[in-house]
Amino acid sequence: MAEQVGARRTIWIGVAALAIVALVLLLWPGREPSKPTSPVVGSASTSGAPAVATADKVVAPTPFTAAPDGSAPEPPKTIWQLRLNRAQQTLDKYLESTRYPPHSRPISEMPDLQTTERRVEKQLGFRKKNGTKRGDLRLNLTQSSQRIIADETLRMTIACVSGKGIEPSTVLSARSEELPSRGQTQTPIAFVDDGSHGDEKAGDQVWTALFQPATSAQFNGYNGDVQVPVEIRCSGDEALTYFNFFYTANVPARFTGKVREAVEKGSLALYLELEVKKAGWYKLDLRVDDANDTRLAFTSFDAELPVGLHEARFVLFGKLIVDYAAQPPFKLRDLDGYRFVADTSPDREYLKPTAGPIYTTKTYPAGTFSDAEWTSEEKDRNVAEFTKDVKEAKEKVADEQSGKIPKEYPPSSAPPK
């Protein structure tokens, strides 16, 4: 990271020099500034009344412009040609996506939810306590997770960085505060740089803190957002920055470890047993790999559960198995989720994630699973509407081409003056 910042500084100097040359060329006499094109909305009328956009559709085609590579310019598209493109795209993409149901998706669709890990790394500006900024400094923050549940411990690090690399710094204070009742109760948090308490290397100016909310009376029974304001001195100035995470002290349910499976309607149903302590609406996610450890599916449970021992049903959709040539036995892993409480804040109580392997299914002979696409009233309704839109747009384009209706072009959307 230090090398990266140092290299950037060198680049800055070079670019500054180039910028000066460019500025001189730009201001050289005889060079006209480029003219902005007309904005979408008309200018104020002579009566002084607010301008009204009456020209959102223009009948005259926008002028052809030469392509940058000198090839023949493309003719502008009419509004109906554009609408046809989007309607066709909407239909095609919807059909492609809805081969599988919403609750059993290819895991490739979940780039940031491949596992239960929620590690955070971010680089923030150096904001002084009086609100002014130091543009030459940044604060690098990491935290082991965005959510802390029950007895889990959060690890946080902070370092001050300039163009030269990591700068000497001192953490002046840190404390935990509930949101939104900030400041009513606080627990001091110690950041160290002495190689202890989770700190990787003494004296490297990367300050570390371990914080276990469950050990603080402040968070007894707490559920909600927590922020950790940190005051840090660096290069002669003091900055105030924040770590943020969500803490659930008491989990509403737990996975007992019991799983059963059944082939149902050409798909593999997976029943995971939960001990539910609080009844409610549960939203849970489970990942599935195939026998070759190829990541395959992201399956979801989204339903009410009463108190007691109950099974949450996940589905590994048959066509997903077939299309991806996934080999059984399937490996279930990384279960997480929460009890969802609609229309309130906080809107959830997290379960403790089960990271890593959970269960391996039986093997199944070829042909066990169906390659039939997902069907539902919802899908039929959407496909019918999108198909109608494509048909209508095609007819309009044909009417334009035959001269039956005039060709209309979209408005310019040049930036405002």
Binding site: R8, W12, V15, V40, V41, A53, D56, K57, I79, L82, R83, R86, Q89, T90, K93, S97, T98, P102, E109, M110, P111, D112, L113, R118, K122, Q123, L124, G125, F126, R127, G131, K133, R134, G135, Q146, R147, P180, D225, L240, T241, Y242, N244, F246, K283, D302, F340, A342, D343, S345, P346, D347, E377, R381, N382, E385, P410, P411, S412, P415, P416
Partner: protein
């Protein structure tokens, strides 16, 4: 006096809407979901009040409706306003195009992820003074009838202005706009297979010390472009050497390999650094680009 007059006009406008509102039958609507709104523009539940956006006389897609959800409370407790609007105009035989600005991105994303598969009563598109419409026949459907979503300066990935405490004193919504919080608030990849067309502005300068990469003075490209991950990042226009990577147009993510959330596409990237975040009471900034898009495609 001005406030009394405004209230009277607002009431009159609302009354006129209810008096002449019956828009039944198979109809398409354009729903505009606003962002953070500390000025309190737009009466909640009044779908004709476009005070947040600009003059209501402007074209902004077929049968435009303003979804006024407040803009200061946290996403979850204020989300019912969005669901009320979707129930009103996007069920039964009616269909919707959605446009969202800033925190409106988080609102529609949250709605689709949390409630997209829920059972909804089919409504008649005639709203009462609270913005709730009557049932058509007591039957239900799964989810809403949405064609696609346009997003101007989306804050579904949060804003470092919330991270840094720039907004702390003013409203509860800020707590949800912390980058790590917004990104954990809902599964951004779950849109019920509906696409989000993203429009990202880049004319920001005021907060360049706080907002990483290209920004529009409130959100950075990582949020406006729908870049996935637990936190933001520094993404820019091509040719800028001081970022983690370029934000690509389309659905290809960034040059550094960070993908977008699924069902997102960057329809407009502000290479000219011309568009900021603010509507300025006149459909301004990057909202102007989305308005033009809605005029073209929402018919």
């Amino acid at each position: 006096m001005k406030r009394v007059l405004a209230a009277a006009l607002s009431t009159l406008a609302a009354a006129s809407v209810f008096a002449f509102a019956p828009e039944a039958g198979a109809t398409n609507y354009s729903l505009w979901i606003h962002g953070r709104n500390t000025s309190g523009l737009g009466a909640q539940g009044n779908y004709a009040d476009f005070a947040y956006w600009g003059p209501s006389s402007y074209s902004a897609g077929v049968n435009k409706k303003s979804v006024n959800w407040g803009g200061v409370d946290r996403i979850s407790p204020s989300n019912y306003r969005v669901r009320d609007a979707l129930d009103c105009f996007c069920t039964g035989s009616n269909w919707c195009y959605i446009a969202a600005h800033s925190a409106g991105d988080a609102q529609i994303g949250y709605t689709l992820a949390m409630y997209g598969g829920s059972s909804r009563y089919k409504k008649n598109a005639v709203a009462n003074s609270s913005g709730v419409c009557g049932n058509v026949d007591g039957t239900t459907q799964v989810g809403w009838n949405i064609k696609w979503i346009d997003v101007a300066a989306g804050a579904g990935g949060g804003s470092e202005l919330a991270d840094a405490g720039e907004w702390f004193v003013s409203d509860n919504l800020t707590a949800d706009l912390v980058t790590t919080t917004t990104r954990a608030l809902y599964n951004h990849n779950t849109t019920r297979s509906k696409w989000l067309y993203r429009f990202a502005g880049a004319s920001g300068t005021l907060y360049s010390g706080l907002l990483p990469g290209q920004d529009d003075e409130v959100v950075s490209y990582h949020a406006a472009g729908g870049v996935s991950g637990t936190s933001g990042g520094s993404f820019c226009n091509p040719g800028d050497w001081f970022c983690d990577g370029d934000l690509y147009t389309g659905s290809n993510g960034t040059s550094s390999g960070r993908p977008l959330w699924s069902y997102q596409t960057v329809d407009f990237r502000d290479d000219g650094e011309s568009y900021n975040h603010y509507t300025n009471g006149s459909w301004g900034g990057i909202v102007g680009k989305v308005r033009a898009d809605m005029v073209t495609y929402a018919y």
